[in-house]
Symmetry: C2
Subunit: 104 residues, 2 copies
């Protein structure tokens, strides 16, 4: 679908993408983590898109099997949610993914 194509394009055109909701603390936490390590993700606030928000969430669920927020992609790859991203960071595995996504 048109919406699916646009989600695929967002995810492949940007090194780091976070699908979020403005009032969700887990979404805020993952955005804050990226900020702390000097990364500026592309953030899509699903609750600010009107009816497209839930539609994009359905597309994300089809593409990733994950209906929850935050939904994180790095270098076009689906990473998961907040706990997944924080775990990768703690294990030292987030930085290499970010470096690869930024082509460095």
């Amino acid at each position: 679908s048109r919406l699916e194509d646009s989600v695929r394009k967002t995810v492949s055109d940007n090194p780091v993408v976070v699908y979020s909701k403005t009032w969700c603390s887990y979404s805020s936490e993952v955005k804050a983590l990226f900020k702390r390590i000097g990364v500026e993700p592309t953030v899509v606030e699903l609750d600010e898109l009107g009816p497209q928000g839930p539609q994009i969430q359905k597309v994300l669920e089809r593409l990733t099997g994950q209906h929850t927020v935050p939904n994180v992609f790095i270098g076009g790859k689906h990473i998961g949610g907040c706990t997944d991203t924080v775990k990768l960071y703690r294990q030292g595995e987030l930085e290499p993914l970010l470096a690869e996504a930024n082509g460095t």
Copy 2:
């Protein structure tokens, strides 16, 4: 109001009360903390009460100044949200509050 009276009654009649939303991870985290330390809070899931949910949230905002979830009370006293409760626990200050609330 009638609703305000019922919230005041819930909070004073039960040693530990958590106003929560079922799909919110911060609400889940604070419920899990209580479970880990063997406490069974009275949980009110605001998203399962139909139109009363947002009305109770407004009452909580009037009574506590806090419109967010989770909203935690111990021994009739307003504690705050997830980060506040976890902080008290880490500082060893949660247990004394719980003991006092349970009259032990």
